[in-house]
Amino acid sequence: MKTMIKSTILFLCMFCASVQAQGRGIVWNGYLQTDNRVQLLGENDFSWHEYRLNLRAELSPFNKTNFHSELWIRTLGFPDVQNSADLGDNNILRPLNLDLREAYIDLYSFVLPNFDLRIGRQRIAWGTGDKINPTDNLNPYDLEDLWDFGRHLGSDGMLASLYLGDYAVTTAILPFFTPAVLPSGDWASIMTQTIELPGLTVRTLTDSIVMPENNLRGASKAG
């Protein structure tokens, strides 16, 4: 198994080097989005401040091979300066966030003419619903912005599709577990309601999350 993992890592490194070496033929596209929100009631607080540069790159370095990546470069939130020392920290003044949403390689007709393989960080949308879709549960929810409900994070894994006429058998293996992102901003408290017990006052509350084991036994598989 170790050899296999080593081989995979080596292959991916070689592929990255190859992509870099090509340099041309890459199709770039993307967008710049600004999102600023203000509350209409109360003190008219600003509730969201985001600048997002979305960069997508596509490349077909070899026949029947396609590379796709999507990167968000963004500043999100407001300066959180607590003391004078913070004024020298650019990460506090203008927090920058890099989010690799997707980065995968497609191998079309891999080994068999009717077999496709996708390896890397990817969004696997299952089912037909867009926003509320109980079957779309392979990728964790990204609830950071509740107004963009339905957004999912990409998951690192492998997606294999075998096409048989009008049908396709699809298998997904997601070795690494990524937890969902909870809302931030105005909606931060929606998932952490205060607990009130009759006659009792809760002074402190701690919680802990048990994550799946970081090994192949804890990996998600679906087909």
Partner: protein, 248 residues
């Protein structure tokens, strides 16, 4: 002998003129058959097109699209530009089966008949307009009149076809059988869209309208479709016209 020669000399031009006037009378079905055979003549075609969208104030937006067609009943179109729409694709298969792939959702959806009146990627072409398929399969033709050098046909959707239009009026060039103008009438039998086809020329032995314009008379918008590059009979595989390739 001289008399016979004289008579023949007079009769021949008269016969020639008479024959010239007596052009073959086509029935509506025959005209539509010829239209279908001209429009879908190539075994397959690959077209790179530019779509220019004009709003009612004359502002322009552009889309670039590649369209593949095999025979008369398989068609796939993919948007190449702008960046925010790149990858949106549709697939039209025999029997009115249509799919659309939306990269933002990473999903392929079948387009139900009742939503084929939805505009494709903000253009004035609906999915029904973009659908492949012979006119003869979808419509019952009827000759309305002869106008200039065009046959004018009234096309009524066959009972088994669900269409957003109550009828079409089709102007067909009498010599080439290429459609030159199409009027679209809504369910209230009111003219709602007008398609004109210009720069009709023969390319590699096939008739082609290099420019088409679809005007939506309800909102004053229009979309111009310009064929920038076309290739015929490249041997496109059936495999290309599948959901699998739609998502690539």
């Amino acid at each position: 002998m001289k008399r016979i020669t004289k008579t023949t000399t007079i009769l021949l031009p008269v016969m020639f003129i008479t024959l010239s006037w007596a052009q073959p009378e086509f029935t509506a079905s025959q005209i539509l058959e010829r239209v279908d055979s001209v429009v879908n003549a190539p075994q397959d075609q690959t077209m790179n097109m530019k779509l220019i969208l004009f709003d009612k104030n004359g502002n322009e937006r552009e889309r670039e699209i590649v369209m593949y067609q095999k025979g008369g009943d398989k068609r796939m179109g993919k948007i190449l530009a702008p960046a925010d729409q790149r990858g949106i694709a549709f697939l039209s298969l025999p029997g009115g089966v249509m799919y659309v792939y939306l990269p933002a959702f990473k999903k392929t959806r079948r387009i139900a008949s009742h939503v084929k009146n939805t505009k494709f990627a903000g253009t004035d072409f609906t999915y029904e307009d973009m659908e492949a398929g012979a006119y003869g399969i979808k419509y019952v033709p009827e000759i309305l009149k002869h106008e200039g050098s065009d046959h004018v046909l009234k096309l009524t959707p066959r009972p088994e076809i669900q269409s957003e239009y109550s009828m079409l009026k089709l102007w067909v060039d009498e010599k080439t059988f290429v459609p030159t103008k199409i009027e679209h009438y809504d369910k209230g039998k009111k003219l709602c869209k007008l398609m004109t086809r210009d720069k009709i020329e023969e390319t590699s032995g096939y008739w082609l309208a290099r420019e088409s314009e679809m005007s939506d008379l309800r909102n004053g918008q229009k979309t111009k479709m310009i064929i920038q590059d076309v290739q015929f009979n490249q041997g496109l595989a059936d495999d290309l016209f599948t959901e699998r390739h739609l998502e690539r």
